[in-house]
Every structure is written in C-alpha cells, then in structure tokens.
C-alpha cells in the first residue's frame, strides 16, 4: 500500500490538482476564522460597489492630519476627474474654436487646462454645434471650475441654539490622513454584489457550501453506484437484469432534465442545500454503477475469489476482502468525479432558479444566478461573476486533475 501511495504522490498531475484543492479547502476553513460576519449580511447600500479600500470620510476628518508635499498631487486630482472622454471633447471644442491641433496634447493635463481656461467662453456660438452639446460644455466647464482652486475646505458644525454653522476645522490640499489611524476602514477585495453584500466573504462561504453539496451528492451517487454495481456484478442473474434495465433508463433520460423535474416538483420551500445535494446524488449514480458492475463481473470468477470460497469464507467476507480492495482505487476516482459533477450540477440548477433556497445559504450557483439576473456581466461588473466562475472551474479542475493523475498511476498503459 505504501508503495502505491508513493507512486500517487509522484504523479505530477495528481500533485498539482491536490495542491490546488487543498489551497481552496484551507481557504474555506481558515477565512471564516478571521472574518466572522454573516456572508449574507448586507453592508453596502446600493449595487455593485467596486473592489477597493473603503475609508470612512467622517472618521478621517477626526483622525490626525499630516502634511505631505507630493509634487504630482494636483495633477492626480485633476486626472481623477478628467476621463479620456472629457479630454477628447475639450480638444474638439478647442479645434472648432481655432486652436491649431498640434498645440493640443490631451495627455499633458496642465497644458490642456491652461488652453481651456484661456480660450473657453460659454457665450461663443460654435457653428454646427447642437444646443445639447453646448449645454454639455457648460456643465463640463463648471465641473472643472473647482479643480484648480487652491484653497481648502472649511469644516463647520450646526450649533443647536443659534442654528448657524460654527467653523470647526480647515482642510487644505496638502493634508493627509493615515489610514491605519482612521477608526473605520473596510477592505472589499471583490467589492459587493447587487444586494450590497461583501463578495469575498460570500464567495468563500459559497465555495464551502458548494463543496458540501458536491461531497454529499458525490457520496450518495458513489454509494448507490457501488452497492448496485456490487449487487448486479457479484450476484448477477435476474437481479443484474433489473438493475441494468433501470441504469439504462437513467442513462438515456438526460440527468439534467431529471434534475429540473425533481427539484421543480420539490417546490420552493423544501429546497435546502442538502436536499438539492441528495437530488443530484440520486440522479447521477448511473456511471458508477455501470463501471463498478463491469469490474466486479471480471473479478467474480478470478482465481483468488474462487480460492477464497474454497477456504470457507462467507460471501460478505469475499466481497469486503477480495472484491472491494481491487475496486477501491476506481471507486475513489469515481467519487472525485461525482463531487466535481455535483458542484457543476448545483451551479447549473441554481442558474435556472431551481437551486437551494436563497435566504439561508449562498452557493456558487446562486451567486452566478444573482449576477445574471441583475446583468452584472452586461454592466461590466466583473467582480460579481468572474471570481465565481474561476472558483467553480478551479474546484472541478483540481478534482479532475487528481483523477487523471490517479488514472495514470492505476493503469500504466495510459502513462505518457
């Protein structure tokens, strides 16, 4: 046994798959230890906040200020308000106005602003420009108005009795705050989803739940497959015919359609994560049954099994000691595949809205479903769906890689 274990861990494919899977597993176990808030807890008001570090403005005003003289501070400030589109429009207006094109460099913020301030006049009517365009330019000019201003902001607090604003503090352009000293800072590596929930926490929890679903579905399917395969293969006769008839039926009826029908007929209320896992398990045992049966039939009249009979062992002992060890490696590989297909089946179901109930627990499929419903993919909110796809792909990819690695260890012909 040690010998084969050594071989398994020397096969590169298995190792890569194993490492990825373990990394995901550890993430799912360790992350909740540090971040304990509820994965479905809504923290953001509004939809699809971008990934980033969210600093509380109110608290930052209260925290100690430091003066830093950074030379490109002003340019960064302007650049953050002047997108490519606005620069293009400004260039267009200046050309219309008569400024030679080669003088305008939209990347050099300072020179562009200077040209704009000296030349732009909202009253001039530029030929061929629609009224809407002119209003747009007026708004653009107004928004740039404050940028070049050099004075800071006065901070005032409304006084209860007098009702007027007493000045409390002054912030000028060089004042900086140390993020660590700000009372409330929240890092959202993956931003929030359309409900305003922290995507990363939700994703980790979802991976955990999906793994559980995959495991339960995989175990159920493999157990059914193993027992039916053993019964059909070892005992044979009419029992074998019945089991094979049922298996052939399930092979032809597409399991996914069956899934839709069953999970649909369970109805919305009872559809918890584990029931869905059970349903997936109950509809995907066909492959394992077929494979186990084929192997057991070939083992049934092997010499060592006959000798075991001649040594007075009971049928149960023969199955456990002489048949199971020979197919154990195959059953384990089948389990890995069942887990992977269980996770994919859950995701597929949830996309159709037939997945587990939404309020209790997030799953990878549900997160995909929400992202689809609120068309995050159309609005370019990649963080709402892309990490979920990557997570699903990584989990099933690592499982499949492990399976291919084991496959090569257990039948040498496939060794490349």
């Amino acid at each position: 046994m040690k010998h084969t274990l050594g071989q398994i861990f020397r096969s590169p494919k298995f190792l890569v798959g194993f490492v990825i899977f373990m990394a995901i597993l550890l993430l799912v176990i360790i992350y909740p230890l540090f971040v304990t808030d509820n994965p479905l807890g809504i923290i953001g008001q509004g939809t699809f906040f971008e990934p980033g570090i969210y600093v509380n403005v109110y608290d930052s005003l209260r925290s100690p200020q430091y003066i830093l003289n950074l030379d490109n501070a002003a340019i960064n400030r302007i650049a953050s308000r002047l997108g490519d589109q606005e620069r293009q429009d400004m260039k267009e207006w200046l050309i219309e106005y008569g400024v030679p094109e080669d003088e305008i460099d939209i990347d050099d913020t300072e020179s562009l602003m200077e040209l704009w301030v000296n030349n732009y006049d909202s009253t001039i009517v530029v030929p061929g420009m629609t009224a809407a365009k002119r209003k747009y330019y007026v708004r653009l000019d107004a928004s740039l108005e404050g940028i070049l201003a050099t004075e800071g902001f006065h901070i005032s607090v409304r006084n209860e009795e007098t009702g007027d604003l007493d000045e409390v503090g002054y912030v000028n352009q060089k004042d900086y705050v140390n993020v660590n000293q700000v009372a409330n800072v929240r890092i959202l590596p993956l931003g929030t989803d359309n409900f305003g929930r922290d995507m990363l926490t939700e994703l980790v929890a979802a991976i955990g739940v999906s793994l559980k679903i995959g495991l339960v579905a995989g175990l159920i399917a493999t157990m059914i497959g193993l027992s039916l395969g053993l019964l059909a293969g070892y005992i044979g006769g009419w029992l074998d015919d019945i089991i094979m008839f049922i298996t052939n039926l399930f092979t032809v009826i597409p399991s996914f359609v069956l899934l839709i029908l069953i999970s649909y007929s369970i109805g919305q209320e009872q559809r918890g994560a584990i029931t869905i896992a059970a349903v997936i398990g109950l509809t995907s045992w066909v492959w394992t049954t077929r494979a186990v049966r084929a192997q057991v039939i070939s083992l049934r009249n092997r010499d060592h099994v006959n000798l075991s009979k001649l040594s007075g062992h009971s049928v149960l002992h023969i199955i456990v000691a002489d048949i199971l060890p020979y197919i154990a490696s195959y059953v384990f590989m089948a389990l890995i595949l069942q887990i992977s297909s269980g996770i994919l089946a859950e995701a597929g179901l949830s996309i159709l809205g037939l997945g587990p109930k939404t309020t209790e627990v997030p799953t990878l499929g549900l997160m995909m479903n929400w992202a689809m419903i609120y068309s995050a993919h159309i609005m370019g909110k990649w963080w709402a769906y892309f990490p979920v796809i990557v997570a699903i792909a990584l989990v099933s990819f690592s499982l499949n890689l492990m399976n291919t690695g084991l496959d090569q260890v257990f039948n040498p012909a496939l060794r490349d």
Partner: protein, 270 residues
C-alpha cells in the same frame, strides 16, 4: 488394484448450460465420471472443450443444470454455507495462474492461516500455527521464514505455485483438482511440482484430477484419461489404452497432431 479402493467422487449425466436464447451455450453435456481413492485421472481437452466448467461443477463453485454428483456414495448437498465448507474440506483446487491465485492486498501468511482455520485449528496458539506452516513449507522445499509477511508480488511463479501445494498439504483433502497447473510454469520446474503432488497421493491417499490440454503430461502422470470435446467425453480408459492405441477418430487425430521426438511425426494428415 484400484477396484478394492473406496469410491470418492462420481458424476452421473452432469450437464451445464450458460445463457439463453441467442447466447445459449452447452458447456458440459451429460458427463459420467468415477474417481477412486488415491487414483490420478486426467481430463484432456482443447480450450473451449468445457473442461474448466466441468472442474468448477465438481468443485461445487457452480451448480449443474442437470445430473448429480455423489461424494463417497452419498448425493452431494451444497444447500447451506456450512455444508459447502464441509464439502470443501474434502476437495480442494490449484489453479493455472499462480499470480492471480493470491489476493494482492494480503500477505501470503493469510493463505496458510485460512487453511489452518478451516481445519478447525483456528484457536491454536500462534506458535503452533507457525510450526504447522513451517512443516508445510518444508514439504514443498521452501523456508517459511523467507516467505513470511511477504506480499505475493515479491515471490516468483514457481514459489507461488509451490505455496499452493503447501496449502493442500495443510488441508490434506481427499481430492485435489489441478486445473492446468503446469502450463504457466517453466519445463524445468514442472517435474518438481508433479513429484510433490504424487508424493501427497502416496502419503495420504489423495486422489488427483488433472485438467490439461497437454496430452504428454496426461500420459506421464495419470492412471485413467478422459478425452473431452464440446462438453462430452469422447473416449476414456487407462493412459496406455487411450493414448497409445486410441479408438475414437477425434482422439486419434488429437494424438497424431502432437509433435513426437522418438517416432516420426506425420505432417501430411492435416
């Protein structure tokens, strides 16, 4: 001299049919057979003649479709597991491929310990069991301490086949069924295996049923020979009668097709 010996096993009208409809095959077709104490018989047939199915029928591993098998004069009854084990105490087997006769996940000691348990000595102290195993191994000139807690893949084909004989030595059954036991073994270690079996026959009066396609081996080792083709016994009698002057055309052609070195091997009769 065979006559006054006890009759161990006899089969009357033994038949076995596999499958039904399109896949219906008649493997064994109304076979009659008698086996006396200490007698060595051979069942000779090409592959597909049904000789292995007949072996499994005699061993009780599969049930006949028709006909009966009598053990020591009484009709064999294998209805319960207890009865089957009792029957298997008296009839044992060695199979063709030593490598597939062992469970690769168990050490080879398990094979011998199973026999000791089956003999009813399961509760003996381990030291006594080791003694028994040492005796059995020495009978097949193997050293037990070289063999113990090794896995099957650590042994050679010849060693494994001899361990199978050690197993028989421990069980000392009344009948041994040897199914093509020398076809996977090199010629030069074939003689040792055959000597051991004949030794067991002389020591404990064990009768042996050789299943083989090798007519030379059948002639060399057995008292009576049964020629089998398509599930039926074509001819049977003592080795000299059947092999040196066969009466049935099938046997005659079979014997003439075997290459000879002392007489001329006539190739024209293809």
């Amino acid at each position: 001299m065979i006559k006054n010996k006890k009759i161990y096993l006899s089969a009357k009208g033994l038949t076995k049919v596999f499958g039904f409809g399109r896949t219906r095959t008649l493997a064994v077709d109304h076979v009659d057979l008698d086996l006396y104490e200490g007698e060595v018989i051979s069942i000779v047939g090409e592959s597909g003649s049904g000789k292995t199915t007949l072996a499994k029928l005699l061993l009780g591993l599969i049930n006949p479709t028709e006909g009966e098998i009598y053990f020591e004069g009484k009709e064999r009854d294998l209805s319960t597991n207890k009865k089957r084990v009792a029957y298997w105490k008296n009839i044992q087997a060695i199979f063709q491929d030593p490598f597939s006769s062992y469970n690769i996940f168990n050490k080879i000691d398990a094979v011998l310990l199973d026999c000791i348990r089956m003999r009813g000595d399961g509760r003996l102290p381990y030291s006594e069991k080791v003694e028994m195993m040492e005796k059995a191994c020495s009978f097949v000139n193997l050293k037990f301490d070289e063999m113990t807690n090794k896995y099957p893949f650590e042994l050679s084909g010849g060693q494994m086949q001899r361990l199978m004989i050690a197993r028989i030595f421990l069980l000392n059954p009344k009948i041994l069924l040897a199914d093509e036991i020398t076809s996977m073994i090199d010629a030069c270690s074939r003689a040792t295996i055959l000597d051991m079996l004949l030794q067991l026959r002389d020591d404990i009066g064990m009768s042996v049923i050789f299943i083989t396609h090798d007519i030379g081996l059948a002639y060399f080792v057995s008292d009576k020979v049964y020629i089998m083709d398509q599930g039926m016994f074509v001819e049977s009698g003592t080795a000299d009668e059947v092999i040196l002057n066969p009466k049935e055309p099938y046997t005659q052609r079979l014997i003439s097709d075997v290459p000879k070195i002392y007489e001329e091997w006539d190739l024209s009769t293809v």
